[in-house]
């Protein structure tokens, strides 16, 4: 059988269907509850899916990824609170629309354009994943792979960190964690302190559930305060008029393109794409003054752009082995445990996986769109679930899910310790993303650096280290230095921003103005 038939055949399994349905339910729920991110949900679900076959497990995890991208728009539109960071830009026009009695319309438009964005990005994945992987396999040897890891790590640091120094420290911390255990080249023990539990290093699932699940829960316990805004329950009409559909066309195209491009950049996710897409659409709109005040073009732009990152993110993750975003970092960890290592060799050796992944994403998108269009009223009620149920459920499922990975209490203890470390890092401004990436990619970096250094004395430097490796290392250095230089040259008040924020200066200004407008109208408009 060919790869296409193999890929489709692996999807025709009852457990894959059950995985899709489970992922759909979980994804919608985590998306709809503010504070529970898709990363947290995928990390948690990774503990449950380890016993499954890879395609079955991918069905659960990828569907959570897709469905959360739909579910998170609901609280953004109805309570002005993003369900996950990817829907930050949705609040800009979604909530004002809801306050104007157009919540149903905002939810429908958001769901439709999100589906279009994801489907467009899937074309990118299906068309380019194998060619990119093939190029990487043919041209990426040890020096290039080492440079690629450093590039992925530095991009993650520059995007996720307000302070580059803190980001680098977080990355070094992650790389240092990755050195614990037996050194495979010589069998020497490193920092195991005689403990058998540390021979294989830290359990990756326990670390990510701790850093992304438990730490987030602990932060909510520390900072929770009564919700500010009552969910808007009057949804109004659902479907756009013909004139409104016509207005959606241009922002859909422009922001879709933004999302596709941003998605291909390692570590850049839907939050950044949504904001850039919203701003670009505003600039080309015939009615820019309506943006931030309930514009159907605004919500079209933000949600198309943030959703269109999914395929690009998947492409860099699967074809290069460098996570496209934090969800994908977790996904890589799960796949490694299944015995599948994302990277240049994956799709050239198993092209059927491209078909399976595309199929799962396609079905997940269609199911999510369908559910989005029928569940509107019910989702409003979900927003009223008291926090004590959510916190208790998250904690017990994090504990059981982590325990299930190894049947060991040591692993649960690791999770708890990293939960405490994670919340301390969060409160002190150290990003968790580089830690996870460092832990995940550290052994790969060390292995390829070792190979490169052993070849270097035998051949001329430029014969070993290709222009690709040099370019990637130069880009890595630039990604760290550029924000520092921009901040040093910028006004004092502008210092202490992430690379995304520094790139998004104009967008941030516009968005702040839109937020102020929303606040002004919120304080003068009676609740529905």
């Amino acid at each position: 059988m060919n790869a296409f038939a193999d890929g489709i055949a692996s999807l025709l399994d009852l457990q894959v269907l059950l995985g899709l349905l489970l992922g759909l339910a979980l994804g919608f729920l985590v998306g709809a509850f503010p504070g529970i991110t898709a990363t947290m949900a995928v990390a948690l679900a990774a503990g449950f899916t380890l016993t499954l076959e890879p395609v079955q497990g991918l069905a659960v995890l990828l569907t959570i990824y897709v469905a959360a991208n739909f579910g998170d728009r609901v609280p953004s539109i109805l309570v002005n609170t993003p369900g996950t960071p990817a829907s930050i830009a949705t609040t800009l026009d979604g909530y004002p629309m809801a306050k104007q009695g157009k919540a149903g319309l905002a939810l429908t438009v958001s769901a439709i354009v999100s589906a279009i964005g994801i489907l467009a990005s899937l074309v990118i994945f299906a068309a380019f994943a194998i060619p990119i992987a093939t190029i990487a396999r043919d041209y990426f040897k040890s020096p290039e792979l080492f440079a690629l890891v450093i590039f992925g790590l530095t991009i993650m640091i520059s995007i996720s960190s307000k302070s580059i120094l803190k980001g680098v420290l977080a990355g070094v911390f992650g790389l240092a964690l990755g050195t614990v255990g037996v050194f495979p080249a010589t069998g020497d023990q490193r920092l195991t302190f005689g403990s058998l539990d540390l021979w294989d290093g830290f359990n990756f699932i326990a670390v990510i559930i701790g850093l992304f699940g438990i730490a987030e829960l602990f932060d909510q316990l520390l900072t929770h305060h009564a919700s500010k805004i009552k969910p808007i329950s009057s949804l109004g009409r659902y479907w756009p008029t013909r004139a409104e559909v016509k207005r959606m066309g241009r922002p859909l195209g422009v922001s879709g393109l933004v999302g596709l491009i941003v998605g291909l950049i390692p570590a850049a996710g839907g939050d950044i794409a949504g904001l850039i897409g919203w701003d670009r659409a505003k600039r080309i709109s015939k009615h820019p003054e309506e943006f931030g005040k309930g514009s159907i073009e605004g919500i079209t732009a933000s949600d198309t752009a943030s959703s269109a990152t999914l395929g690009g993110s998947l492409t860099t993750t699967m074809a290069l082995g460098v996570p496209g975003d934090s969800v994908m970092a977790v996904m890589i960890g799960s796949m490694i445990i299944w015995g599948i290592t994302p990277g240049p060799d994956l799709f050239t050796s198993r092209p059927d996986l491209v078909v399976s992944i595309t199929g799962i994403m396609l079905v997940a998108t269609i199911l999510s769109l369908g559910l989005s269009l029928v569940r509107m009223k019910g989702m409003v009620k979900l927003l009223d679930v008291p926090q004590h149920y959510i916190w208790s459920a998250i904690l017990i499922f994090c504990i059981i899910g982590t325990y299930a990975t190894t049947n060991s209490f040591y692993t649960v203890g690791t999770m708890l310790v990293f939960g405490v470390i994670g919340v301390i890092m969060k409160r002190t401004g150290f990003p968790a993303g580089p830690v996870v990436l460092g832990l995940l990619l550290g052994p790969l970096a060390e292995e390829n650096l070792s190979r490169t250094l052993s070849i270097l004395p035998t051949k001329p430097f430029l014969e070993v280290v290709s222009p690709i490796a040099i370019a990637l290392l130069a880009l890595s250095a630039l990604s760290l230095l550029l924000p520092i230089i921009r901040r040093a040259r910028g006004p004092k008040g502008e210092r202490g921003k992430t690379l995304a924020q520094s790139i998004l200066d104009a967008e941030v200004t516009d968005i702040d103005a839109a937020k102020n407008d929303t606040r002004a109208s919120a304080s003068t408009t009676p609740e529905k």
């Binding site: 490193r190 920092l191 929770h224 805004i229 049947n407 708890l416």
Partner: protein
């Protein structure tokens, strides 16, 4: 002003956008402490990796078990020291992406950690023999753990205290213990 959803059984009334009240404030002391802890951690890491026992020498141009961790340790110490200097001489960074600690928050957090540690310690016992039966502790201690969590998080309804822990424990037992055959 809007009446809010009830999270803990109490109705509360707060302003619509009270960002200033909920956003964490910059803190130089916190920056200094964080950088100092990072410096100590990386210094300890460096000392430990320099003591890694090597079973055999590596060939020319090759790296041994100490090389990569040593590079990381040195880099970490340099960056952490740089960060510490920054924390002293530069104004503290904005923390507008973080929410301020709320009253009762630390109590909730510490109670959660203590309860979880106690729960894990009890669960490790696995089972006890009583009245001639081997009794699995998981099904008995989990509802109490959930009950205690709900109490700490502000629930006060007896229906909540009974139904949620029992249903959740039963669900976990059926899913993990029976279907996935995880030894609970």
């Amino acid at each position: 002003m809007t009446e809010t959803r009830s999270e803990t059984g109490d109705e509360a009334v707060v302003s619509d956008t009270a960002d200033a009240d909920i956003v964490a404030q910059p803190s130089r002391r916190l920056e200094i402490v964080a950088a100092a802890v990072a410096l100590v951690f990386m210094a300890v890491y460096l000392v430990l990796v320099l003591q890694i026992d090597l079973r055999r020498e590596t060939g020319a141009g090759q790296i041994d078990a100490r090389s990569w961790p040593t590079m990381l340790g040195v880099l970490g110490v340099v960056i952490a020291a740089w960060r510490l200097v920054y924390a002293f001489v530069r104004p503290p960074a904005d923390r507008d992406d973080l929410e301020r600690l709320q009253k009762g928050g630390m109590r909730r957090l510490i109670s959660t950690i203590v309860l979880t540690v106690v729960y894990l310690a009890l669960w490790q016992v696995r089972s006890i023999v009583a009245f001639g039966y081997n009794i699995e502790l998981f099904v008995f201690i989990t509802p109490f753990f959930l009950f205690a969590l709900l109490y700490v998080y502000g629930a006060r309804s007896w229906k909540t205290f009974v139904l949620f822990p029992v249903i959740t424990t039963a669900f976990i037992y059926v899913l993990f213990g029976m279907l996935l055959r995880i030894p609970l």
